[in-house]
Structures are given as structure tokens and as C-alpha cells.
């Protein structure tokens, strides 16, 4: 085990972690740190070690706390795993939302995530996995009296088998494979393409990886907990290429439909590594929907640019700029921008603050800007 940890520590400068912007640490694939090869979800042992010894600050530790010791307590409940087949994780993510900060502001606390995760893994190099989560999900602000839905649910549960390091197959409920998997579930890129925090689908997903290329191809039948007429069924795929050894560019395509809506989405994206944890993420795309009653047939276009700077270990400064033209037939469009900071004072603890300004542009009217401040707490075991 010591040799295992030391190997990781000595190659830290080349390694990366969970969020898409962590390409800035040198890693181009999410498979290294996550059981889900497309990112998100439970961290594997390597991801846990790196989160403690590379992502998070060590300023609160005494000097006597070596990186090896930090690695040893990176397991569930600060324990080193005593077996190889079961891994657990628990998460809480909540934020305070302040609308119109500094003015006539309103505040509310929202729990975004509160779940437990479990993975069983077997075989050489964890060839076979069974992974899933269960927990509380954000409750819509006002529920319809006609609809009943659970606030406790599973957002992922799947079986995975790696035929080889280059190819794996996954079956079950997973996020759709499309574009950059941004943390911000209300990003225009995710809303326009219906890949928000609750849009997981049951399906079959193939993951392909070699030195230069990585791709995912997913065929899905919607979320099986929903009524059949509402389930979005279709295919989605993403293809990425590593360029100049450190950066990734890619394309994605999605086509899905239920009895009331047909959706087609395209995207081109890039993830660029500027070393030492700094990165730029960008995506532009288009989504066309056709509705059964023709009440909302339109094509939306979006763009997003995120820049990340890591001045020191555990601390990130970022800037987010988004564009949305919700209907290309109209001249209206929206721009949302804002800075943010992200701080990992310790492993398992993330503090984050985002400021958003949203401006709507219209040839007919002048609409006041809206402002939001989001301060987030994320704790995990």
C-alpha cells in the first residue's frame, strides 16, 4: 500500500480530479478518479487520494502531517480500506441563494444534494462494478397538486464492465453523455440540452479510450420511473481528442423524443490545460425542439466560457460567461456572467461563492439586470 501511495504522490503533477476544470492538473479523462468514466458520482481510491494530496489545501494540517498520512486517511470515514470490493461515500451540498444582493434582497437555503453512494467492484483492475446512489433531491419550489414525485431517489445505479482499459460497457441509470459535464446544473448549456441534475436516463453506454481519443455512445429509454409517454428515448454520443498532449476538443450529438417533444442537440467544446490547476472550458451548441401542440417549436443556441486560475493549492478563482438565444427566430438573447471562488480547506470540504449577473437584450424593451449570489457548502465522507 505504501508503494502504491508513493507512486501516486510522485506523479501528482501529472494527475487530475473530478470537476471538468481539473484538466488544468494534467488529466484528460475522468476515468482515473471516478467509477463513472464520464465523471461525476463516486470517487475511486485514486480519486480520493488525489483529492486529499493535490486538490485540497494542507494549510490546516501541521507540518508533521505528511502527504502519505493524508493519503492514508482519504478513505471512507477517514479509514484506509480494509477490503477491495466495497466502497462507500456520503455527500451533502447546500447553498444560500441571495437574489438582488445589496438591494432589496431575498435569501433562501437550498439543499442540492444529500446522498449516499455505494460501489461493489470485482476482478483484476476492478473490471466489474456495481455502482449507485440514493438520497434527497431538490424539491421544486411549488409542487403541482396533480403530480406526485419523490424527493428521495436514486440518480445513478448501473453495472459496468471493462473489457479492457480501452473499452467498457455500462448499463443502468446514468447522466447523458453530452458536452462538458459542468458542475453548474443551471448553466445554459445544460438547460438547453436537457442534461440538468435530474435528467439521468436508463440505457446502455459504451466508453472508448486510447492515447488520443475518448468517446461515449449511449442509447437510452428515458427514466423508467416516469410514465412511458414522458420518457425521453434516443441516443447521444460524444467524441473527444487530446491535442498537444494536454488539451481536449470534442463534439457531441443528441437525439431524443417522447410523445410530446423531439429534441436534437449539437455541441462543440474544448477543455484547455494552462498548467498548475488553471484551465479554460468552452462550449457552443444548438438545440432544436419540436412540440406536439406546436406551442414551443424553436431552436436555441448557447455558448459558455469558463476560466479557472489556481493561485495556490486548494484555491481556485474562476469567471463564467454564458450566452443564450432561446429562440433563433427572435432577436432577444441573454448574457449571464460572473466571478467566483472555490476553496478546499481540507479534503472532504469545499466552499464556493458565485456571483451572477443576468442581462436580457431586446430590441423592444430595456429590462433591469438581475443579480444572484450563491454561497455553497459541500461536505463528503
Amino acid at each position: 500500500m505504501k508503494i502504491f501511495v508513493l507512486i501516486f504522490l510522485t506523479t501528482l503533477s501529472l494527475k487530475s480530479f473530478g470537476y471538468a476544470n481539473f484538466i488544468g492538473h494534467g488529466y484528460t479523462s475522468c476515468l482515473n478518479c471516478h467509477f463513472n468514466p464520464f465523471g461525476g458520482g463516486q470517487l475511486n481510491d485514486y480519486g480520493r487520494v488525489v483529492s486529499g494530496t493535490g486538490i485540497s489545501s494542507r494549510s490546516l494540517y501541521p507540518d508533521s502531517m505528511t502527504e502519505e498520512k493524508i493519503a492514508h486517511i482519504s478513505g471512507f470515514l477517514f479509514n484506509k480500506p480494509k477490503q477491495n470490493w466495497l466502497r462507500l461515500q456520503a455527500n451533502y451540498r447546500g447553498f444560500e441563494l441571495t437574489q438582488n444582493p445589496g438591494g432589496n434582497s431575498t435569501k433562501s437555503w437550498l439543499t442540492m444534494q444529500q446522498d449516499v453512494r455505494l460501489t461493489l467492484k470485482f476482478g483484476e483492475n476492478d473490471k466489474f462494478i456495481m455502482s449507485g446512489d440514493y438520497g434527497k433531491t431538490p424539491y421544486p419550489l411549488k409542487g403541482s397538486p396533480e403530480e406526485k414525485y419523490d424527493t428521495y431517489r436514486s440518480r445513478s445505479h448501473y453495472l459496468g464492465y471493462r473489457f479492457s482499459p480501452k473499452f467498457g460497457l455500462y448499463a443502468g441509470l446514468m447522466d447523458k453523455v453530452f458536452g462538458i459535464r459542468l458542475l453548474e446544473h443551471n448553466a445554459y448549456s445544460r438547460i438547453a440540452t436537457q442534461t440538468t441534475q435530474n435528467d439521468q436516463v436508463h440505457g446502455l453506454t459504451g466508453h472508448f479510450l486510447n492515447d488520443k481519443w475518448e468517446s461515449g455512445l449511449q442509447a437510452f429509454v428515458g427514466n423508467l420511473t416516469q410514465d412511458d409517454d414522458l420518457r425521453m428515448k434516443g441516443v447521444t454520443g460524444s467524441l473527444e481528442r487530446t491535442i498537444f498532449d494536454f488539451h481536449r476538443v470534442g463534439v457531441s450529438y443528441q437525439n431524443a423524443k417522447n410523445e410530446y417533444l423531439t429534441l436534437s442537440s449539437y455541441a462543440v467544446f474544448g477543455k484547455f490545460n494552462f498548467k498548475e490547476g488553471s484551465a479554460i472550458l468552452t462550449e457552443i451548441g444548438q438545440s432544436t425542439q419540436v412540440t406536439k401542440n406546436q406551442s414551443d417549436d424553436r431552436t436555441a443556441r448557447y455558448g459558455i466560457l469558463q476560466t479557472y486560475l489556481r493561485p495556490w493549492r486548494g484555491f481556485y478563482i474562476f469567471n463564467n460567461i454564458e450566452y443564450l438565444k432561446n429562440d433563433t427566430k427572435l432577436d432577444n438573447y441573454s448574457v449571464r456572467w460572473g466571478p467566483g471562488i472555490q476553496y478546499f480547506p481540507l479534503q472532504r470540504l469545499e466552499l464556493r461563492a458565485d456571483l451572477y449577473n443576468t442581462r436580457n437584450f431586446s430590441s423592444e424593451n430595456a429590462i433591469p439586470d438581475s443579480w444572484m449570489l450563491i454561497t455553497q457548502l459541500h461536505v463528503w465522507l
Partner: protein, 115 residues
């Protein structure tokens, strides 16, 4: 092992997602006049998670408290469209850009003429 397998495939009842209200939004025939504007521009969000505006009658609209018959300028429904007198929050529809003038006026006229 059986218990763990059951855990993995635990499926809750009726999960909520982006498509949960597609039946209401896109399955019903579209009305005329103000009803058509509300159907096209508002129901996408105001169906289930933020009130339920599909198929409301004029009398039901009045009971929501959002419209004041004969007084569109002081009706919250109209104020929120362009954030008239309300600063800092987003105009409606959120993320959809401003409502065209002719549709905005049509909604005002509808409230002006409510009994």
C-alpha cells in the same frame, strides 16, 4: 448479496426531471389570444413546479391574486413580465428574453377587460 442487489436497483416512484410536465405543456391544444401567449411563453415553467397555469379560467386567474381586473399596471402578473417597479429579479419568462410588445399589450388588454 441479494439485499445489495436490491439496493442498487432501488427505483423511487415518479422521479422529477425536465420532462415531467411535457404532457401538460405540449400535449394540450393551444388556445387563442392571451391563452395562447400564456401557453407559448409561460406554461413551460408554470406547470407544476411554479404554480399550474394550464387551462385556468378568467375567474381562476383572479383568485390567484396575480391579476387585478381592470388594473393591469398594478397586477403582479404584468409587473413581473418587464420587472416594472420590481428591481433585481429576472424578467419573465426567465432566460427567454423579453416578451414582444404586442403580446405584452394583449395581456394587459385581457386584464383590463376582466369582469
Amino acid at each position: 448479496m441479494k439485499f445489495l442487489l436490491l439496493l442498487f436497483f432501488l427505483i423511487s416512484c415518479q422521479d422529477y426531471n425536465t420532462n415531467s410536465f411535457d404532457r401538460t405543456r405540449y400535449g394540450n391544444p393551444v388556445g387563442e389570444g392571451p391563452a395562447k401567449i400564456i401557453q407559448n411563453k409561460c406554461i413551460n415553467c408554470h406547470s407544476g413546479e411554479h404554480d399550474s397555469w394550464a387551462g385556468l379560467t378568467d375567474a381562476q386567474w383572479v383568485t390567484t391574486g396575480l391579476v387585478i381586473p381592470g388594473d393591469p399596471d398594478n397586477s403582479l402578473f404584468i409587473k413581473r413580465i418587464y420587472n416594472t417597479g420590481i428591481s433585481g429579479v429576472s424578467n419573465m419568462p426567465i432566460g427567454g428574453g423579453a416578451l414582444p410588445n404586442d403580446e405584452y399589450q394583449a395581456l394587459k388588454d385581457w386584464i383590463q377587460n376582466l369582469p
